[in-house]
């Protein structure tokens, strides 16, 4: 059976030989091989038949033949590209026929007591801009403070205190 030269130990070599003996006892009865052979031969032959029935595959360095699925995949890309091209052409054609008129209309004269809508929106814009202007805001604040001071002074006078005391 196995050689055990690598062990360099008489006792271990003897033990290895005993394990060999144990393994030999574990090798089964005489009919084992026949049973395994009978059970597995049909599998071997069936696998061989299945291989023989497989369709031939083309081999070579380049793509010799393109399958239906591959052809379909390559056509999808082409169809998408063609769709974009048609849509872009249609859009250009539509814009050509519906483009806005180049004639510029002059200002219309408003009625006597009517403020033109355009003028009203311009005024609102001017007010909004002014409100948002920081400098003007400061001035309004200062004016409000001065007014409130003046009002409290006038209230003090109104309660009968002399102007000098109040000051």
């Amino acid at each position: 059976m196995n050689d055990h030269e690598h062990l360099n130990d008489r006792e271990l070599t003897a033990l290895a030989a005993e394990i060999d003996r144990l393994a030999f006892q574990d090798r089964g009865d005489a009919g084992l091989e026949s049973r395994i052979f009978a059970a597995t031969l049909p599998m071997l032959q069936n696998a061989g038949q299945a291989r023989a029935q497989q369709p031939l595959k083309l081999v070579g360095s380049g793509p010799v033949r393109v399958g239906v699925a591959e052809r379909r995949e390559s056509r999808v890309g082409m169809k998408i590209a063609a769709g974009f091209a048609i849509a872009a052409t249609a859009a250009l054609a539509w814009m050509g026929t519906h483009r806005p008129s180049s004639v510029v209309q002059g200002p219309q004269i408003a009625a006597f007591n009517q403020k033109p809508a355009m003028a009203a929106s311009v005024d609102e814009w001017a007010i909004a801009s002014a409100v948002l202007d920081d400098g003007l805001n400061d001035e309004i604040d200062n004016l409000a403070k001065a007014t409130s001071t003046l009002r409290s002074d006038l209230d003090t006078i109104g309660t009968g205190e002399s102007y000098e005391e109040a000051m």
């Binding site: 271990l12 032959q45 696998a47």
Partner: protein, 197 residues
């Protein structure tokens, strides 16, 4: 003039792949008992071991028959890798689902008296018990080497470990077995002395 063994094996495999019954019979005769012994050592049950061996050869038959065997020149390593994986699966399943075939349970059954004396008078059954005490890795090395009859190079292919590692592991596993058997003998002797008193 005798043919080169590796060339002879290659010819057998080629003939078997064509469905030649004689070639397949020869392959089964060469390897089935070794695969069975590997399975039997681990599972300690003859029916389970035969089931595993048959399943391994079924896999090999299908692969060879379908032309899917590609590891040319390393048939034994491939065969025992399939066998080892099947044994591992069986042991794992048995651990998850304890039943009569559980290797752990079977390992605790009393040993048959038919196994003769070994290793300075120690019964082979005790040697088997001592092997069951080894770690998974040590046990696989012992079983592939002695039950599978593989060379250390083939074992290196099966277990994907360097040859040096496997040599060292084999040596260490034998030492552990010797210690386990020594303890076992001492325990038996002390029990006998107590009985005599």
């Amino acid at each position: 003039m005798s043919q080169d063994p590796s060339q002879e094996l290659a010819d057998l495999l080629q003939a078997a792949s064509r469905g030649d019954p004689a070639a397949w019979r020869e392959l089964v005769a060469r390897y089935s008992r070794r695969v069975y012994a590997l399975a039997k050592s681990r599972c300690r049950n003859e029916d389970v071991a035969e089931e595993i061996a048959q399943s391994v050869f079924a896999t090999v038959a299908v692969k060879i028959g379908a032309g899917e065997y590609t590891e040319v020149g390393r048939f034994e390593s491939w065969l025992f890798r399939v066998a080892m994986n099947r044994v591992r699966d069986t042991v794992r399943k048995a651990k998850r689902r304890p039943e009569a075939r559980d290797p752990e349970l079977l390992a605790n059954q009393p040993q048959r008296q038919s196994e003769g004396p070994a290793y300075d008078g120690i019964a082979l059954g005790r040697l088997r018990d001592a092997m069951a005490e080894l770690s998974e890795a040590d046990r696989e090395v012992i079983e592939l080497r002695h039950h599978g009859g593989l060379s250390f190079k083939q074992m290196a292919d099966v277990l994907e470990e360097p040859v040096g590692t496997l040599l060292a592991r084999h040596h260490r596993a034998l030492k552990k077995l010797r210690e386990a058997l020594g303890d076992s003998v001492e325990a038996e002797q002390s029990t006998a002395e107590v009985d005599d008193e």
